[in-house]
């Protein structure tokens, strides 16, 4: 005859089966299979290279991004900053400005004895993103092809991720009241196009790169040039690689 003690033991052993049962109920059925698409996530790992020496600060990327993604005016998924870094013995902080995110380019602003250049910025699609770590509802996530995206239907608009992003790349969409950010034009790159900002960049300062493609020029770019990411000390796994970046850039 079984004792109560033994029965509880058996029940406890059966607990082990819970995941199996869950897996059974969760098994993919044909109903929720995604629409047939040729895009295979496992074959890509997206990144971008930016050549500071080529950027002319025209703002084409900012306008292109806003057109492509219906970014509300005054908010930016990508923008361009102008750095005016003083030559050595002078003050140690560079002067940085970005009038209207460079939507209309930059008016001339001369600064003597300074190194002036443009720095395009956008989401770094971090491989270990702080924004993903702080989301309380799991609305923002890292995809298998190396992007950080937001599930608009899950986002609460709590702004934790806006604060967590070390690069200031997120904003709360004024109408949807959920967080919005650069998607690397996921709707374009998954169709074989390049992102809108890369498409309209006249000088090739920006290039979309696929690190899993052995033929991609990014590999030569990374090997042959001194390349940096922004805020490397934060170990975010940023995947926007800058060439010829001045040490004053943060």
């Amino acid at each position: 005859m079984t004792t109560r003690r033994e029965a509880i033991k058996t029940a406890a052993r059966l607990l082990v089966l819970t995941p199996a049962a869950v897996a059974y109920f969760e098994r993919p059925t044909s109903a929720d299979a995604p629409a047939e698409s040729k895009y295979d996530m496992a074959k890509h790992w997206w990144a971008m290279s930016i050549d500071i020496e080529k950027c002319i600060g025209c703002g084409n990327c900012v306008r292109g991004c806003a057109n492509e993604n219906a970014v509300p005016r005054g908010y930016f998924r990508t923008w361009v900053e102008r750095y005016q870094a003083p030559a050595y013995p002078d003050e140690d902080h560079p002067e940085v400005d970005s009038p209207d995110g460079a939507f209309n380019g930059f008016p001339e602003k001369k600064k003597d004895n300074a190194k002036s250049f443009f720095v395009p910025k956008l989401c770094n699609q971090c491989a270990h993103s702080p924004c993903v770590q702080v989301c309380p509802v799991g609305a923002t996530f890292e995809t298998p092809d190396g992007l950080v995206l937001v599930d608009q239907t899950y986002c609460l608009g709590c702004r934790y991720c806006v604060q967590a992003c070390p690069y200031g790349c997120r904003y709360i969409h004024p109408e949807k009241q959920t967080v919005d950010k650069c998607t690397f034009c996921y709707h374009r790159i998954s169709k074989g196009l390049v992102t809108a900002c890369v498409e309209v960049c006249p000088t090739g300062a920006r290039t979309l790169a696929d690190l899993k493609d052995p033929k991609d020029p990014i590999h030569a770019f990374l090997r042959d040039n001194p390349v940096q990411v922004l805020k490397p000390h934060m170990a975010t796994g940023a995947k926007v690689y800058y060439k010829s970046l001045d040490e004053s850039v943060r």
């Binding site: 109920f25 492509e68 001339e108 602003k109 002036s116 995206l149 937001v150 709707h187 196009l193 498409e199």
Partner: protein
């Protein structure tokens, strides 16, 4: 058999709890969750479903090889069509219905070539007001191949 009753009650309670767990889980976990990671797989399709507005220069070149041939020979070879003409996917899909508005060269050319001390030194720059004095750039330059137009050839 007093003890057996205890056991049955306990088992029933356990089973009920387990069923409740499964039912609630089924209800609250969205379809496709966990398929690719700790997120709803459908979110990817939502984001991918967005329509494009820039068709890409490959699309333009398929119909406009005249312009492409001119462009490819000049200094603007690396500038894509839509960098100057704006988003034209709707035109590319229905060229008869949607006709692009041609850009005003006074504004367009200056947006890239207006001189600025932060621009790379090797990029060709002009102070538009001195250089053309308000005349449209296209009266001297051919936009698709910015060398000077032959009629005006100075």
């Amino acid at each position: 058999m007093k003890e057996a009753v205890h056991l049955v009650r306990l088992a029933a309670l356990f089973a009920a709890g387990f069923v409740a767990f499964l039912v609630i889980r089924q209800m609250v976990v969205p379809a496709g969750f966990g398929k690719y990671g700790h997120f709803r797989a459908g979110a990817l399709d939502d984001i991918r479903a967005r329509p494009i507005s820039y068709a890409g220069h490959g699309t333009c070149e398929a119909c406009h090889d005249d312009q492409h041939n001119v462009l490819a020979k000049g200094k603007h070879a690396q500038v894509s069509c839509e960098a100057c003409h704006g988003p034209q996917n709707r035109h590319a899909e229905e060229p008869d219905k949607v006709k692009p508005v041609l850009p005003d060269t006074r504004v367009l050319c200056a947006s890239c070539h207006e001189s600025n001390s932060a621009k790379p030194k090797k990029f060709p720059q002009v102070v538009a007001s001195d250089h053309s004095g308000g005349e449209p750039c296209k009266s001297c330059h051919v936009p698709h191949n910015p060398k000077l137009s032959t009629e005006k050839g100075q």
